[in-house]
Every structure is written in C-alpha cells, then in structure tokens.
C-alpha cells in the first residue's frame, strides 16, 4: 500500500481538492450563525490538509492511508455514520446546540476523509469516471426530486415528500433557510412544477429495494459507489442536523424574544441557551 502511494507521489498535487473559494458551495452567502459552521468546517479541512501539503513523508503516509481507506476502512466509516444517523433519528428532542454542533462536526470530519479519498480515487480512475464506465449511485438529491415530481400526478405525495425530505431546503446548509416541512401546500406545488420535465434515472420502484452499499467491495465500480454513498449519507445526516439546529435556534429565539436569531453570533446563542 505504501509503495503504491510512493508511485503516486505527485498525484495529490493534481487532485481536485477543495479550494478556499469552494466553501461557497457549502453555504452560499451565510448568515453570521451559519458562518460559524462554515468556518468550523474550513478549519477542520485545513488542519487536515495543510500539514500534508508541506511535508513529503506526511503526504506519503496520507496517501497510503487513503488507499487503505478506499480498500477497507470506508466500510468502518459507513458503520459509524449509520450509528450517528440512528442516534439523530431517535433522540430528536434532547439535543442542545453544543451537542448538535459536536455531531455535525463529527460527520463533517468523516466526510472530509471520504472526500479526500474520492479525490485520490478520481485521479486513478479519471478515464473510467469521465467516460461513464462506472456510475454514481442514486443520490438523495435525485430521490427528493423524484418525490417532488410525483406530486404532479398524485397530491398525496406532498405529505410523503414532507415526511421523507422535510428537513431539506434551498441552500441546505444555511440555518436561516426555511425547511420544506415548513412550506405551505401551494409552495410545495410550485416547487413540484419545476421538476415536471426533469429527466430521472431513478424510478419509484427502485426506492423500495434501494440498498446501494457493498460491504465487501472488490471492483472499482463498487468502491466508487460506496465512497459516493458515504458522501451522500454524510450530507444527508448533516442536513438533518442542520434542521434540528434550526429548530433549536428558533426555540431559543422564542424563549428569549430574539427578533433575528440567525444574525446572532454562535456564542451569544449558546449563552442564551445556558441561561435558566
């Protein structure tokens, strides 16, 4: 594994790593409160990547660890994420801001490792990926749009969509963004109309048997699929946590009569939460 990393010692230089400006993709024009989350993730990422860029041996060690991740360790990450997901789904009423932030950063930490390994995988298999020889699994993005699209022919899907994807929103990671569960029927219908002609590579029947993770991946196709499933899952859990954070922020704002809670600093809200 280590030898393989040496052979590819220059690959990191060409890897599609995240640039400073790419954090805009994470939250576009964040409010001060969401800016705190954006900065925390940026810090997590830079703490991981900066030492690797500066030190040749660290770079080699990093690449060898990424190769191990691609072969074996990503299965462990998947299991860790499943555990966090279950916890988030079960204990939705008992979360404080600090706990939610901790879980959020834990998921993001796993996501960063996964994204870095994806960069390495992409470099090694660029031709296969670019020529669509290996495909990405169905994403939550597609599943949510499929539900929206189905509202066009069956309005009972409004409730199903809200139940399944109610924690999503426009600009998903922005705490101030209203979640789809907060949308009125008319607003959802309006949104649904946008998807009328959207081509989909996923069908409703696919959702019933959607198990996309392979526990013993052998081929590149399976590894690529697994890494993208983990990425998608980590994003989904993060958005679920963001929705819970938003709910908590609004509860605190209500309790302390704060007119614009998303313009507050994170520390201010933590202080308010801890006040009796």
């Amino acid at each position: 594994m280590f030898m393989l990393a040496i052979k590819q010692k220059d690959s990191l230089k060409n890897a599609p790593l995240i640039e400073d400006e790419d954090f805009d993709e994470f939250i576009y024009q964040p409010t001060p409160l969401s800016g705190h989350l954006k900065d925390s993730i940026k810090m997590l990422y830079l703490n991981k990547v900066s030492p690797i860029k500066k030190n040749f041996f660290k770079k080699l060690l990093f690449q060898s660890s990424m190769l191990t991740y691609l072969k074996i360790n990503h299965v462990v990450t998947f299991k860790k994420l499943k555990k966090i997901d279950d916890l988030i789904k079960l204990q939705t009423n008992n979360f404080s801001l600090a706990n939610l932030e901790k879980s959020f950063l834990e998921v993001q930490n796993l996501l960063i490792d996964n994204n870095l390994s994806l960069s390495i995988f992409y470099l090694r298999n660029k031709t296969k990926i670019e020529s669509n020889f290996i495909h990405a699994p169905f994403t939550f993005e597609e599943q949510s749009k499929l539900f929206l699209k189905m509202i066009q022919s069956d309005s009972s899907y409004i409730e199903k969509f809200k139940k399944q994807f109610g924690y999503y929103s426009m600009n998903n990671y922005e705490l101030a963004s209203r979640r789809f569960s907060e949308y009125s029927k008319t607003e959802i219908l309006k949104l649904s109309k946008l998807t009328a002609n959207l081509p989909m590579r996923i069908k409703k029947t696919d959702l019933d048997v959607l198990e996309q993770f392979v526990y013993n991946p052998v081929s590149d196709k399976e590894i690529y699929g697994n890494i993208l499933v983990i990425r998608d899952m980590a994003k989904d859990i993060s958005i679920r946590i963001i929705a819970l954070l938003r709910r908590r922020v609004l509860e605190i704002a209500n309790l302390h009569r704060i007119a614009e809670p998303f313009q507050c600093r994170w520390e201010e809200l933590l202080e308010k939460e801890n006040q009796k």
């Binding site: 992409y122 990405a136 600009n171 946008l194 002609n197 959207l198 081509p199």
Partner: protein
C-alpha cells in the same frame, strides 16, 4: 487576451465534466437560484456562481453549466456526469449581460461571449 471585434469577452475554461459538449453558438442565461428556472427554459447554457446542488432542477432544459467556482467532484458535477450535462469552469466577469450568446471553441478550451 486579444478580443475579436464581435466578442465582448473571452476566457479559457477548465472542463469539469465533458457531457455532450460541442463547438458552436448557444444561448445562455445567468441564474442566481432555482426561482429563475421559468425564465431560463429556452436557454441551453446557464451561468452560475458556484455548483449548488439546487441547480439539478435545470437539467430538464440545459446542456451546459458555466460556473465560476467548483470542481469535477462537486455534488452537481457528479450528477451532471450521470445526466450527460457539461460543466465548465471559467472566471467570467460579474458584469456580463444577464443573457445572450456564447461561442464554445472545444479544441482550444475557449469560451466567448458574443
């Protein structure tokens, strides 16, 4: 960069996703969010600031996305690859007209606003 008479701006682009990118002149529209969707139906190219997954909705009408920020492994790039939509990255100026035509020179990776 030297400009031709009929070109208001041109720049070298980086191809993030090939899709079905071809040479030619295409109508483009600058969009900010999904609410611009109905106004962009007759355009085959959209200009966006960053690769926000929300723009997936536009896949019903477009062939190409021109972005200022993002990478070949952005969420939207991965989706675009599956739906044969091209994604190119170029540092286009903020003050370009909101709609118009672009010329794509695939061989030299050059995009011109005309």
């Amino acid at each position: 960069m030297r400009l031709n008479k009929n070109i208001s701006w041109q720049g070298k682009y980086e191809k993030l996703v090939s899709g079905g990118l071809s040479d030619g002149v295409f109508p483009y529209k600058c969009v900010k969010d999904v609410l611009d969707f109905n106004q962009s139906l007759s355009y085959s190219v959209i200009f966006i600031d960053h690769l926000d997954p929300d723009f997936f909705i536009f896949f019903s009408s477009i062939k190409c996305i021109v972005t200022r920020k993002g990478s070949s492994l952005s969420h939207l790039s991965i989706l675009a690859r599956e739906y044969q939509i091209s994604v190119i990255k170029v540092d286009f100026p903020v003050e370009i007209p909101l709609s118009g035509n672009i010329n794509i020179d695939k061989e030299n990776n050059i995009l011109c606003l005309c």
